[in-house]
Symmetry: C2
């Protein structure tokens, strides 16, 4: 384990070069990358015994929360905010595991539904017990405040909401 | 763009199932994943004109901050907290771009140094101008507080510091 926080040190280097206005955000961005890596490793370790990745777990949970236990693939991508190719890949794997099956949409001929199987529902429920145990043990001092701060970043990036007032989006937003 | 925040909705679903103790951390973890994705896309968009990824940019900056403009590959992995294979890969690419060259360590025969070239130093400086512009424009309301909260998560995960008191580590820490 490092004795010194490497991100705090990067920040000191940034400030020493006179980049003081950018230094706090640099430290936040680098911290987000690191914390994402730490948390993903832990969530995936909890999911591995259930044969799931985080991406596949998210698909199962979204389906389990849906009224009919099924959603069009396009809708899944939209709700999980991931690329259509990632949804296709996750559903392929879940189908091979017999946790989900594909079905033609009853009314929209262009759409394909992912349907949760009974086995998929029970694997999702079992995985959730372990994932929730992990979540409850996470040392987050003030999760609600942290959530709100991250929500501000997501909202400003145009992630959701009706607002598109100037200045509220992140620069270089390739999705606008 | 979604009108409703999908993470807030996931949280409501969590609470509706009685998983109230886990719901705030679930929302934080999911937000971290999403914010990481948003920020990485933006940083990489700023770096792309310079022929760099974030991983390679981090290596260049670490070398540029070092006293001699060179560091052993092992040290780079330790400081950037990435897997040795990722460092090898980044240095391979940087070497092909002639931004870095490999050199035998003068005293430690088992170690290989990555040495910043003059071209590497100037590409890093040019990229930093664009990256800092992006950092300064990020809509972070209270970056210092956000940094501290993320720092708490990193510290509890055993990322740095001398503390290894019981209960301060995240569960399932495979590195301990």
């Amino acid at each position: 384990m490092l004795q010194v926080d490497p991100i705090a040190e990067a920040r000191r280097n940034w400030e020493a070069h006179g980049w003081t206005a950018a230094a706090p955000a640099m430290a936040v961005v680098t911290s987000i990358m690191r914390v994402q890596q730490l948390l993903l490793a832990r969530v995936e370790a909890a999911l591995r015994p259930h044969g799931l990745t985080f991406a596949r777990y998210e698909v199962l949970m979204l389906l389990s929360f849906s009224r009919r236990g099924s959603l069009p693939l396009g809708k899944i991508g939209e709700r999980l905010q991931v690329h259509p190719a990632s949804v296709t890949n996750a559903v392929d794997r879940l189908e091979a595991q017999r946790l989900v099956r594909r079905q033609r949409h009853p009314t929209d001929r262009r759409a394909v539904l992912a349907v949760l199987t009974p086995r998929g529902r029970s694997v999702a429920a079992a995985a959730t017990i372990d994932v929730n145990e992990l979540f409850e043990a996470l040392p987050l001092v003030d999760p609600d405040r942290l959530f709100e701060q991250l929500r501000g970043v997501r909202e400003a990036a145009g992630d959701f909401g009706a607002s598109d007032a100037p200045g509220t989006r992140l620069p270089c937003d390739e999705r606008t």
